[in-house]
């Protein structure tokens, strides 16, 4: 085998590198105009990953009789530039290059990976993966067909290769804007993160897919001081976008949300403890949906019968105005993907339709188990991890009620605006999420701000307890959202209309 060049790898390290990724195309406005991600042959051109080499590695992975094997090649460049104490004075960069080889036998998985894109290293990794099986060798497909899909984000973006000088002013302006909005602000931390992840998936059943995923965001985190008290808050904006998305207006919006959120907390009160009606505001509160419902609908948990939703397919789980969707096809959102990490094209997957549980989120293993088609949810953090079913962008569809009526419907309770750190116990369905900011609802009206309380509930009970759904579906457009599962983080987002849950446990102190 000839020596692998890694030309691009040498070129694309760190911020100052000049990267030529693909022929530049001027993109018109609007997601529907994104160019289709036609295969560029990147890994063959740069690392000599030919079809014949892929066949050889797949054959090794199936040498002990696996049902299926796949190869995942990745070259990711990540940059962070950060501001502290008024100056953009630190930068972090990371280059990740490697290949992961998976062998599947029934529901068993063997996995090996290497950081060296040499034939010898990849064959060794394939040998490790193969040990999951113990039978006669099986053969991979003799030819591969490119999977070409629609694109839900710019795939010929230039954000990583854009000169550092073009990004520094964005971070500086976040800082300046925050300080200009309130004299109470005493500290600002601002960050700009950009990443390009180039992947190629090659499967033993003959599929081959290539993608270039952008991920980027700006964030502001502020500390405010008033009368000897301090409060903190933050906000971020991003997703799978181009540098042009970070306009003055976007910067101003991030700064305003961070500053307003911190300043209002000086008037915050503690809510009472115990069960009460909870209204979820639109957008970010979709974290609750993600935790309380979404994880329980990942098919691996149901295949193993360890999810509380394992026996609920076809059953009524909510009122008819509740429809829950997980979609990888929403333009520019962090959880959008053109195809998943097994090469299955992305799609909109309906989980609950008009209150009836319709299906789960599948990778190829669970789809085979349930005898359904995979839903494009087979995802992984990187080449160092094997695929598991993961959410993409999960949301409830808009309902019939006005947001004002939903709040009135609660009469007395709490209104949740900003949340962080959710967690669920899949088998019990019990979940918790942390309310960084919200309001009391008193006599049907929003009153005093509240902060720093945990809310507890149970997924199936919460679904059944949704009594009103607003018409104001919003998606969370922050770029920093990531979900943890099986020791892996995967970018995701969520959406939520204003929604009334008639009873949840609020962790107050009185």
């Amino acid at each position: 085998m000839k020596k692998i060049t890694r030309r691009s790898f040498l070129k694309t390290t760190a911020q100052a590198a000049a990267v030529t990724i693909a022929a530049p195309v001027v993109l018109p406005e609007g997601w529907y105009s994104f160019a289709s991600p036609a295969p560029t042959g990147y890994f063959e051109n740069e690392f000599d990953i030919s079809d014949s080499l892929c066949q050889k590695i797949l054959a090794k992975a199936l040498a002990k009789g696996g049902d299926y094997a796949d190869l995942y090649f990745e070259h990711t460049i990540s940059n962070y530039i950060m501001l502290e104490d008024g100056k953009v004075n630190r930068a972090y960069s990371d280059v990740a290059l490697g290949a992961g080889i998976r062998t599947v036998k029934g529901d068993q998985v063997g996995y090996g990976f290497t950081q060296e894109m040499t034939e010898e290293s990849m064959l060794n990794a394939a040998g490790t993966a193969a040990t999951i099986a113990n039978a006669e060798a099986t053969k991979p497909a003799s030819k591969f067909r490119w999977i070409v899909t629609k694109s839900y984000y710019p795939t010929d973006f230039k954000i990583v290769s854009a000169p550092l000088e073009s990004k520094l002013p964005i971070v500086q302006s976040v800082n300046d804007k925050c300080f200009s909005l309130s004299s109470l602000i005493t500290k600002v931390n601002a960050t700009f993160h950009d990443q390009q992840k180039r992947i190629m998936v090659v499967t033993s059943d003959g599929a081959k897919a290539e993608d270039l995923l952008p991920r980027n965001y700006i964030s502001a985190f502020v500390v405010a001081e008033k009368d000897g008290k301090r409060e903190q808050a933050g906000w971020n904006f991003g997703g799978r976008r181009e540098l042009a998305a970070y306009t003055d207006a976007a910067v101003a919006d991030v700064a305003k949300k961070a500053v307003d959120s911190a300043v209002v907390l000086f008037d915050a009160v503690q809510p009472p403890a115990g069960e009460m009606p909870v209204v979820l505001g639109p957008g970010l509160t979709g974290v609750l949906l993600h935790e309380a419902i979404g994880h329980g609908m990942e098919a691996d948990f149901n295949r193993k019968k360890i999810s509380t939703f394992a026996t609920m397919i076809g059953k009524k789980v909510a009122e008819p105005f509740v429809t829950i969707v997980d979609s990888g096809t929403i333009p520019n959102l962090t959880g959008s993907i053109n195809f998943d990490d097994e090469g299955t094209p992305s799609q909109k997957t309906v989980l609950v339709e008009k209150g009836i549980l319709k299906g789960y989120l599948h990778d190829k293993i669970s789809a085979k188990h349930y005898k359904v088609k995979p839903t494009g949810n087979g995802r992984r953090q990187s080449y160092q991890h094997y695929v598991v079913p993961r959410m993409r962008n999960t949301y409830m569809e808009a309902g019939p009620a006005s947001p004002e009526d939903v709040i009135k419907g609660a009469k007395n309770g709490i209104y949740v605006e900003d949340v962080s750190n959710g967690q669920v116990k899949i088998g019990e369905g019990d979940f918790a999420f942390y309310v960084s900011q919200g309001r009391l609802i008193e006599d049907g009206k929003l009153t005093a701000p509240i902060k720093d309380i945990n809310i507890m509930g149970n997924g199936p009970k919460m679904l059944a307890n949704i009594t009103m759904m607003g018409s104001d579906l919003e998606f969370f457009t922050g770029g920093g959202g990531a979900c943890g599962k099986a020791g892996q983080a995967a970018p995701c987002s969520f959406g939520q209309p204003t929604c009334l849950v008639k009873s949840m446990t609020v962790g107050g102190r009185r």
Binding site: T13, N89, Y92, Y111, T128, L164, D430, P460, T505, R510
Partner: protein
């Protein structure tokens, strides 16, 4: 010391200098990991890999950046370092960014911390499989007919790293580790399927409990979740199981870092020398615990490590202040982060304390929650048992505790005699009184 890694690290330092860095710090690390899990008495996953990484900090013209790469070929590294230095020079100047004063490197102890198990290299694939199979068997046996699923796992590895700075620091670290455990799901009433787990982490295989103990403990913990329900909101004493204390202490710890203080994100910033907890709250940072998971002879800045009393009978004695934030704060640096955290154990067992308290909540786990380091406010979901007459009577779920750290740690009334050995936070179970437990 790995000679090849040592030579490459020294070469990277020289290369950075030649490419225009005033100073640099380079670490090269290598890790080999094996993971095996079993379910339904057959392997569910097998994973094995070796990873390598170079991490470089660049100080150029008063500017600073950090970079990582997994491509350790010299020609690739030369370009990587050159590009990184060019980029660094575009950033704003930061007068506080320098390598540490070398005087803090001095005084490093010469002792064997026992972080390497010499037998690790002989840990065979067959032994690994046998360990996992035995854990699964024990869990299934103890779980009985309630069991829906058991996944048993082991994960072990060996890692080493070489770190050098351009102003004379050189350090080598090597360790082995073993993780063994299981998670179990059992059938409860209706659609509830409680899921419990038990994992242990050690540096030496000799410190692992037997596979039978691990599996049986997983089953015991899972069965204790059966029949869980919410009880009414009330003020009660709570006992937090040793393994869980670290989760709630994490919110307190966050406020002890120099960065949090300098960035005004610490509720402890002005509390040094004052009472931040009850007299039962003593915290020692000890980097020299034999086979301790946080043991080390030098810290992230290269400082020679020291044993420190961070909190003494409730009085805050020290912070974690690294070199950079010490310069910003104009304070003397201590160390950038914790090593092994020790709370001296008490005299009584949890069982004895429970009997004495009569009624309260024994918290065995947490769910969700968070802590605000700026204000000290914290709120977290709890899992555990209501005990009455000194005995567990009811599993609880969907419940929560909320407080401010400065009030919460003053409610600590006793520590038990059971420090948790499988973590760098070697905390015993702790007893707090007058806690509002939210439920119905």
């Amino acid at each position: 010391m790995n000679k090849e890694m040592q030579e490459l690290t020294a070469w990277a330092i020289k290369t950075a200098k030649a490419a225009g860095a005033n100073d640099s710090k380079v670490s090269i690390g290598s890790q080999r990991n094996v993971e095996i899990s079993y379910r339904q008495r057959k392997p569910e996953t097998i994973k094995e890999a070796t990873t390598k990484q170079l991490y470089i900090q660049i100080f150029a013209n008063g500017r600073y950046s950090q970079q990582t790469t997994s491509d350790l070929r010299k020609d690739a590294l030369k370009d990587f370092i050159g590009n990184a230095i060019t980029a660094t020079k575009l950033l704003a100047e930061d007068p506080y960014r320098t390598l540490p004063d070398p005087k803090y490197y001095e005084g490093r102890k010469k002792m064997d911390l026992g972080t390497v198990d010499p037998q690790h290299a002989k840990f065979s694939p067959e032994e690994r499989h046998n360990l996992v199979k035995a854990i699964e068997s024990a869990a299934l046996e103890k779980g009985g007919d309630k069991v829906i699923s058991v996944t048993a796992e082991e994960n072990d590895g060996h890692s080493e790293s070489v770190t050098m700075t351009s102003n004379g620091f050189e350090g080598y670290e090597e360790d082995t580790f073993y993780v063994a455990g299981a998670e179990m799901t059992v059938q409860d009433e209706g659609d509830r399927r409680p899921n419990g787990y038990h994992y242990v982490v050690t540096l030496n295989k000799k410190d692992l409990p037997s596979a039978e103990e691990i599996g049986a403990e997983c089953a015991r913990r899972t069965m204790n979740l059966l029949g869980a329900k919410k009880i009414k909101t009330e003020t009660l004493p709570i006992i937090i199981r040793n393994q869980g204390v670290g989760r709630i202490f994490g919110g307190f710890l966050q406020a002890m870092f120099g960065r949090s203080i300098q960035q005004k994100q610490s509720f402890l910033a002005e509390k040094k020398g004052t009472q931040v907890g009850s007299k039962h709250f003593t915290l020692i940072d000890d980097p020299f615990v034999k086979r301790g998971l946080g043991s080390r002879l030098f810290d992230g800045d290269g400082f020679a490590t020291k044993k420190r009393t961070m909190i003494d009978k409730g009085v805050l004695k020290d912070f974690y202040v690294d070199w950079y934030y010490s310069r910003k704060l104009e304070w003397e640096p201590t160390t950038g982060g914790p090593s092994n955290l020790i709370v001296p154990p008490g005299k009584r067992s949890v069982k004895e304390i429970m009997k004495d308290l009569d009624r309260g909540i024994f918290i065995t786990g947490f769910i969700g929650g968070n802590s605000n380091p700026t204000t000290g406010d914290a709120s977290i979901g709890i899992i555990g048992q209501l005990f009455e007459g000194g005995k567990p009577v009811q599993a609880i779920s969907e419940m929560n505790i909320s407080d401010n750290h400065l009030k919460f740690w003053n409610k600590l009334v006793e520590v038990a005699n059971d420090p948790y050995p499988y973590s760098s936070m070697r905390f015993p179970s702790m007893v707090f009184e007058d806690i509002v437990v939210s439920g119905l």
